[in-house]
Symmetry: D3
Amino acid sequence: MTTAFRRPSGRSADQLRAVSLEPGYAKYAEGSCMVRFGDTHVLCTASIDEKVPPFLRNTGKGWVTAEYGMLPRATHSRMDREAAKGKQSGRTQEIQRLIGRSLRAVTDLTQMGERQIKIDCDVIQADGGTRTASITGAYVALHLALRKLVDSKAIPALPLKAEVAAISCGLYNGVAVLDLDYAEDSNAQADANFVLTGRGGLVEIQGTAEQDPFSEEQFADLLRLAKQGIGQLVSLQRKAVMG
Amino acid sequence: MTTAFRRPSGRSADQLRAVSLEPGYAKYAEGSCMVRFGDTHVLCTASIDEKVPPFLRNTGKGWVTAEYGMLPRATHSRMDREAAKGKQSGRTQEIQRLIGRSLRAVTDLTQMGERQIKIDCDVIQADGGTRTASITGAYVALHLALRKLVDSKAIPALPLKAEVAAISCGLYNGVAVLDLDYAEDSNAQADANFVLTGRGGLVEIQGTAEQDPFSEEQFADLLRLAKQGIGQLVSLQRKAVMG
Amino acid sequence: MTTAFRRPSGRSADQLRAVSLEPGYAKYAEGSCMVRFGDTHVLCTASIDEKVPPFLRNTGKGWVTAEYGMLPRATHSRMDREAAKGKQSGRTQEIQRLIGRSLRAVTDLTQMGERQIKIDCDVIQADGGTRTASITGAYVALHLALRKLVDSKAIPALPLKAEVAAISCGLYNGVAVLDLDYAEDSNAQADANFVLTGRGGLVEIQGTAEQDPFSEEQFADLLRLAKQGIGQLVSLQRKAVMG
Amino acid sequence: MTTAFRRPSGRSADQLRAVSLEPGYAKYAEGSCMVRFGDTHVLCTASIDEKVPPFLRNTGKGWVTAEYGMLPRATHSRMDREAAKGKQSGRTQEIQRLIGRSLRAVTDLTQMGERQIKIDCDVIQADGGTRTASITGAYVALHLALRKLVDSKAIPALPLKAEVAAISCGLYNGVAVLDLDYAEDSNAQADANFVLTGRGGLVEIQGTAEQDPFSEEQFADLLRLAKQGIGQLVSLQRKAVMG
Amino acid sequence: MTTAFRRPSGRSADQLRAVSLEPGYAKYAEGSCMVRFGDTHVLCTASIDEKVPPFLRNTGKGWVTAEYGMLPRATHSRMDREAAKGKQSGRTQEIQRLIGRSLRAVTDLTQMGERQIKIDCDVIQADGGTRTASITGAYVALHLALRKLVDSKAIPALPLKAEVAAISCGLYNGVAVLDLDYAEDSNAQADANFVLTGRGGLVEIQGTAEQDPFSEEQFADLLRLAKQGIGQLVSLQRKAVMG
Amino acid sequence: MTTAFRRPSGRSADQLRAVSLEPGYAKYAEGSCMVRFGDTHVLCTASIDEKVPPFLRNTGKGWVTAEYGMLPRATHSRMDREAAKGKQSGRTQEIQRLIGRSLRAVTDLTQMGERQIKIDCDVIQADGGTRTASITGAYVALHLALRKLVDSKAIPALPLKAEVAAISCGLYNGVAVLDLDYAEDSNAQADANFVLTGRGGLVEIQGTAEQDPFSEEQFADLLRLAKQGIGQLVSLQRKAVMG
């Protein structure tokens, strides 16, 4: 990093925004977490449903699925409400599929019994990185809901193989930076979302050139930053689920 | 009230839940208010749009409209997400039409210029009375957004004729009670929503017999309670917009 | 009423339009009634369905539900066909929910057996007051369909607790008037729909300030007119179901 | 026809049902006609719209289009409401396209000016033959609306090249019969809908084998019957538009 | 035919385009056929589904149904994708209903067992006559799928009563011509689609006047041409299913 | 690779399926290419539209967008037709967004003028890897359409910065393999799609753990294979556009 380089937020290239995980935020959900990455705030809830989707009936296996939404004025200018338009955008569907896959990757579906956990990630305020914040908070909500099942003796042990957390990185003014906020995201040369387990295993990688193609070396820089940032997030998750 | 009567919450028949109005909750909206009636929490935002609907183009008049939504797990058991189902329920449409009409009743549309204010009321947590909480909070959001227009000299004066607030009342165990929570609402013999101005004018009345028809006297009791409760709400609104 | 006051139709303030209820209008429906309030004509049919909605299965209880529609050229200028637009408006949904609630309020759902009666109210011509005409005519259609069940010994007695009828009232040129037609409705200061039973019990009240808020006294005037008008409607219903 | 042959209705093979055309049935439409073929009743309205569809803008040409609907309980058993299902069936779309094409075939679109006439055919009661009754009644509604344009001097002369009417025929118990009612239609070996002009020109022919294929000779019998029946219908149309 | 007459393609009035039927084109379908009428190319597949629609459950009878689609750039200018628009056009529904009816007319539904065959006709390239090409190719796909059922001893014999094929004819420059291509179709005075069995039985006739009404004699000319053309198509079908 | 390792297809780990690119397959499209990766066949067309989306009007810039679809029986068992279901799946939307982004990454939108090129990728037959085959074929279609614009002097030079092609890789039985077919894809431990330019720049990376998380080393193996495979694809693209 050259001396001339400066992020809009004043953060250093490898610095996360202020991150907080507030477990139990929602009164009625079996598990919940309000996750905040700076001005990005996402309410994640986990709801236990004793029915599974048709393709799993009578298999003894469970399922974890996710839905994602944004309040219309979570953003700088108001966006149309998806319920009023009558359909979810491609972006919304892409994100909720990603959240679901990421959580299933660390859940032992065979051990959770024939039931479904539905995750809802609703963006209350958006300043970039909503999908990675969602995954990070959703893990906490899922963990808490599953522990409720353990506590009520519905299942013998927590069916989780590891933590899972996510972060975005990008090339901003030619420099690899961690945890893009909206100002950076809209001007990044490339950005990538990484989903890793608490043990460092790769779950999902999504890298996109926004302007020019990027090189293997640049991509390696992004991955290195992501691993470091996710390490910090997993520490916060561990504290949040202990409460 | 007989000695035998007791509300599930322990409140007296004419007692509101703890009500708070938190102005400026949303960072990006021109006006916003988080309104809480006990465990019912609604985030209300007001977004200024410099375009009006087609039927008002070139009339010099403005418009106020509202949308309403509920997070899927705002409630005791999870409800389907309207954006995923691809349509808003009849209940949602009924509520958002009510919010819009109530706000327009106190707004001088001619003085607000040819622009539209879009109100979004999103229920973060629901324990009964979400529509009346929405109206009460939305007034604060609308007021703040309009004041921003005055401050920027887009309009010369605040185009508001009065405050507007709303409360529900109902017959619970035969007794008229103020501000029903979910436990009361689901067992009420009748319930009614009242929308009044700060000067005591009636804007909307919606009364429904849930079990047996009710009498004129019972209805008069409900209205009397509503007037008292709305008086308290208007005081809170006046404080909230002064901040 | 001052001497200067005059309704567009020449009616006195407390005068209904010419009302007729023609039972048995539809050849195939189990119950039907063409209801006419002046130039407002609504065909109401009641169809017996031996299946109940899922939430009532195996409860032994029945259900009454309603749908509402308008022919595209029922009105002064043509409206888009809802089937072609692919969705029912908020107004349509609000009205059909109101019709269903009103009818259920006088039906003993436990005594009607585990079956459903579907009411269809289709506006053939609209000159104001279609929702109140619908409720008034739908009661006759429902009554006739239920009697068919009694006649065929499917149920032992008519599961109706009272008649139910509805009327609109409003403030027109400052005067409370009964049974608004379209010309009055579009210029009313306030209007209210009242649904009452044959015994005078209140089932639904919906009052709305269209321009300025109204006072309690004005509202009391509207209610007084409504009670008188509904008395006349119930007499007509009693004749219609005797035929 | 053998002595053994008997239609359910007792009509002879070449006998229409009682047909009536009641012009001016709808109060607000520019043209209207309630058409009745026995127990099949269709309300046809014609609405003048001074705008044409985009593909005709600035061509000076007009357009005639049609929509078709059925009240849910027009039929022996209740059908789902298309507006509630959120889409029109393939059958509905097929019928409304046919009505529109048939009317355009006799309209001089160049002489009607750059405006559109929207025909609505709404089936109040259905006992077979609703599409052919619709075309027959819609012609009357269209004629009346166009004459209103002539009377107001919007156009110099009636832009109609001929009358257009329609009838169904079918093979019932091996015999060619005219004007199928529902009981015949559901048991016909083949049925065909014919649309002809007042001068005997063929506008549309739709023949369908319901059970076994039919022969050229059988088809010729159907066409012969249709020509005779349409002759009678056109006489009725001429009287209806003279009123 | 006068000497002045000339078809855009140079074909004689009674000449088909080059027709080919390529059975087994699709690797996975139980039956398939790529049908080409000149530049009109349609891929027809037949998929066996061991479930029948609800109205046939437990009747022992089978069903044949069809769906039709067009690639967006099958045509001279790109058309909107129906999946993206969220609904099938009236034209699409009309065509797929026609294909289904035509195939069922030659299938012994009682002998095919309680299963369904779903035909998909997807237009890869369109130069007029896609619906008639679809029927002609779909018969081959259906035949092959049914033979697979015979070969696997699921049914004892081929449940087909005859071949079925289709062709369009029209009046072009006043002359009756066979097998309209797009250039002819868009300028035809009238066009008609004929569906006939291999034994000459009439299954469907759809004739439409595009400009002026046509006469009985003209219609007879079209039918005569169709019978001749379909004779050739049936010969090609017989070869295709023998392969 | 151990001796025990064997791909279902018998290919070596770094071996592509037989790939062919057939330019000009579609008669009417401005550019087109039938791309085949073994049994995966995708028809890609490029349609020039002289209008741009609203957000680009009067900017002088152009746009490239893509839509993706699959014939219902492209797959081993029939899938529901999206046009009949009335909406595109999340998977479809994800893929078409990916194709569009990938093509825009190599197009100089400023040099292509204010017009839009719409790419359609329709899967005729699917045996895994349809999204990467689509991108590879779509580039050829886009190139040909843009050259048509150059040839007609609508733009001075080909506004393409590089070729773009895509391939999938995955971990199958613990071994990194190139170009997964369906049999491999459904049993892969992880799979990744890579989109690279002809110069080796990274445009998109999407890696997903299907069973267990994967390691950085494994991911590096996949990327190495992808680079090699894409090199071969780009050679084929260069030949295809020269034709």
